[in-house]
């Protein structure tokens, strides 16, 4: 590989832009696979990477079939008490909100209203784009900011669809009865999240983007994995952590009151979901798994964390706006260095790292990897069992994204 990387820029130089992009994305996809250190992890992810990145199955047709191999744990004796989980279940039942009644859908959302923008102009990386020679007119800037909002909310919606199915699968597989009670409420929660994002996109922004290939890889991987704890880890810790980072960033930036309220409700539910995830996994990892199995989970979580940090680069927006005007490689660079991405990464890892630590997936061995990735500053932070929904909202609101000026 290393020889290729050295000669790659020179090789690409002589080619037309489209061909450069094709080669760049192919190698980039390959890099996802070759960067996975644990061969076993790579092997379990390969089919999803192939379907998502190489075949691009999420970009065509109306649906994808994802065969799942997990088994349903049917209790005959109704044992398996887990008081903390029962408590969470009661709280979830008591705090159900109604996506139709409790949100003011009569709010007039005008994405171009400078008083209440869905995505204010300090979010998009205009400076980074300008450095690459892309100058947008004020009108284009507004439109681009709105497209970022639609893109982001579309990905939230796709993620919620995945969460809905994962929550259902996990409810089948989990062994504690109290966890099954709780799981039922999460299924309802995720259904409602899907409903409100879909409704917002369909009726307010009126523009929905396809599921991002990399998000699709993660969802496909964990929905088809047969091991319930991997689904659990993937959904309740990793994807929920990602979602909290992303919802929180959007919550902080948006000035549109309906969206703000909607996100607040969703974030409070997600806080409960992560709480449930860490309770179950700490118990399972601590008591049921062998050291080798723990090592594999650690590696898997690390891979997914990096995938989430490095690869949600909104390529759909690139193809819509800038194909032919700049290279895909330059676009990736602009997005990775955008201040709003820094905010997103901060909020995501702020929650994720302490949770991984709490459930027992932060051995010294893997810590060294996280350290290299610059993520250990979050160690020792509060984990999900110590944080309520209100705490989360407060922390999110308190985090001020670094502004480019």
């Amino acid at each position: 590989m290393s020889a290729n990387i050295v000669t790659l820029p020179r090789m690409l130089d002589g080619l037309p832009g489209k061909a450069q992009n094709t080669i760049y994305s192919a190698l980039d996809n390959l890099r996802v696979m070759t960067s996975v250190g644990n061969a076993k992890v790579a092997a379990t992810m390969a089919p999803s990477v192939f379907r998502g990145l190489i075949l691009g199955v999420a970009r065509d047709g109306d649906a994808v079939q994802m065969p799942a191999q997990h088994s349903t744990h049917f209790s005959l004796t109704y044992g398996g008490e887990f008081p903390e989980m029962y408590e969470l279940y009661r709280r979830a039942v008591a705090n159900q909100w109604d996506g139709d009644r409790d949100l003011d859908w009569s709010t007039d959302v005008d994405p171009e209203n400078p008083e209440r923008p869905v995505m204010p102009l300090d979010y998009p990386p205009f400076e980074g784009l300008a450095a690459k020679g892309i100058k947008l007119t004020p009108k284009e800037k507004l439109r681009f900011a709105n497209d970022i909002a639609s893109w982001t909310l579309s990905q939230f919606m796709h993620g919620e669809q995945g969460a809905l199915y994962a929550a259902a699968q996990v409810t089948e597989s989990v062994q504690w009865m109290d966890a099954k009670f709780y799981g039922a409420t999460q299924v309802m929660d995720e259904g409602r999240h899907l409903e409100v994002f879909l409704r917002y996109l369909d009726t307010k922004l009126q523009k929905t983007y396809v599921c991002n290939d990399n998000l699709f890889v993660i969802l496909d991987d964990l929905l088809t994995d047969s091991r319930w704890d991997v689904k659990f880890l993937g959904m309740q810790i990793m994807v929920e952590g990602l979602a909290l980072g992303a919802f929180g960033t959007m919550y902080n930036f948006t000035r549109e009151p309906l969206l703000k309220q909607l996100l607040k409700y969703v974030i409070q539910d997600e806080a409960r979901h992560v709480h449930y995830g860490v309770l179950a996994l700490r118990e399972h990892i601590g008591k049921e798994l062998s050291p080798a199995e723990i090592r594999e989970r650690e590696d898997w979580a690390y891979e997914v964390a990096l995938l989430m940090r490095n690869r949600f680069l909104s390529h759909e927006l690139y193809y819509e706006w800038f194909e032919g005007r700049m290279s895909l490689k330059d676009w990736d660079e602009v997005i990775l260095n955008a201040p709003s991405m820094a905010a997103f990464r901060h909020l995501m890892f702020l929650r994720l790292i302490p949770n991984l630590e709490y459930i027992g997936l932060m051995s010294d061995r893997i810590k060294a990897h996280y350290d290299k990735a610059g993520l250990t500053s979050f160690l020792g932070g509060k984990n999900a069992t110590e944080l309520s929904g209100e705490d989360l909202i407060r922390d999110i609101a308190a985090y001020k994204a670094p502004t480019p000026h």
């Binding site: 065509d60 369909d202 009126q206 929905t208 396809v210 819509e320």
Partner: protein, 350 residues
């Protein structure tokens, strides 16, 4: 035929899905550029369009755009279905009518590079993602336009699917998309195709249509053509014991002729929304209601789809003709908000 966009970016959602929340896409038109004008057959033209801002305009197979042409200083709206497969370029195919105001304008004056406005996409003459069974489609005249889009789209996602097309044309010279159908048939053994030439064999009757279509029990049937022909097909299928619930129709009614509208404001009461609105000169009931922020149903805005149907409870309205309202709907007091205006103070059930 016009090449697929290499990558789907925007999900085609059409106007249907949001209906459950009583909200339809906004009425903001988009500008499109005529990239190519293709002679499709005798008296038929295909316009290949690109959004003027070069950003995708996603549609579902079988949907239409409402085209707004400025002809002799006034806006003329016409609905034309998309004839390209889902994910492909925007292409609409237009039959040029001898006295047709818009179609003659398209044939004689529209040029490549011209820019005009469209609304939509709209319409629910679309594939049902939950239905995996066979498809049977009848297209007569320009009714082949959405049919070819549906067929190409269905076969692209499932090349083995059983699809039957019956195409009714006046004569071979006027027939649409035969080359595309032939090419499809070569690569898709599941596609069968019959062509009826009315200049030779006359209009097919109910029995003949039922025989030509012969849908399997699991089939979804699509009919698009003149009212009389669709009625005959439906009668024939009913007689043959086919479940009419599995039939979808699209009617190409002619657009209404402009009629002089009141020159003074007229008050309208929207009873269910508990709103009073002053209809301004030139406005339709729909224009007035939307301006006041009411959530009124609509899609085509040209009297062709029936989505904007409302009942007049009191007062007089002027409804432009022709339009898609059925005689029994008229008798029950319905009008089309997009094509009607109040001539006296009115109360409507909306």
């Amino acid at each position: 035929m016009f090449g697929r966009h290499p990558r789907r970016i925007i999900l085609p959602r059409g106007s249907g899905p949001a209906a459950r929340w009583k909200q339809r896409p906004s009425q903001t038109p988009r500008r499109v550029r005529v990239e190519k004008i293709v002679s499709e057959a005798q008296d038929a033209i295909t316009l290949v369009l690109v959004p003027d801002d070069d950003r995708p305009l996603a549609f579902r197979a079988g949907q239409y755009l409402t085209h707004i042409f400025e002809i002799d200083g006034r806006d003329e709206r016409r609905i034309y279905s998309l004839s390209s497969a889902e994910g492909g370029a925007l292409a609409c195919t237009i039959r040029v009518l001898p006295e047709g105001r818009a179609s003659q304008f398209i044939a004689r004056q529209l040029r490549e590079g011209d820019v005009y406005r469209v609304l939509g996409p709209g319409g629910d003459f679309t594939l049902d993602p939950a239905h995996q069974g066979s498809l049977v489609l009848l297209g007569a005249g320009s009714g082949m336009t959405p049919v070819i889009s549906l067929v190409e789209t269905a076969l692209a996602s499932d090349p083995q699917r059983s699809v039957r097309v019956v195409d009714v044309q006046h004569d071979e010279a006027h027939a649409l998309f035969h080359a595309r159908l032939r090419a499809l048939a070569q690569n898709h053994p599941g596609l069968s195709w019959d062509s009826v030439v009315t200049a030779v064999e006359g209009r097919p009757d109910a029995v003949r249509l039922a025989h030509l279509l012969r849908p399997a029990a699991d089939a979804q049937v699509y009919l698009c053509g003149p009212q009389a022909l669709m009625d005959a097909a439906e009668a024939g299928l009913k007689e043959a014991g086919f479940d009419l619930q599995h039939i979808r129709r699209e009617r190409f009614v002619a657009a209404p002729q402009h009629r002089p509208r009141p020159t003074q404001p007229v008050p309208i009461v929207f009873k269910r929304s508990a709103h009073s609105v002053e209809q301004q000169p030139g406005e339709s009931l729909l224009d007035a209601g939307l301006r006041a922020g009411l959530k009124l149903e609509f899609s085509c805005t040209v009297g062709g789809c029936g989505h904007c149907k409302v009942r007049v409870l009191d007062g007089e309205v002027l409804l432009e003709e022709p339009n898609c309202l059925l005689p029994e709907e008229r008798a029950a007091g319905y009008t089309l908000a997009c094509s009607a205006c109040a001539t006296t103070p009115v109360t409507v059930d909306a």
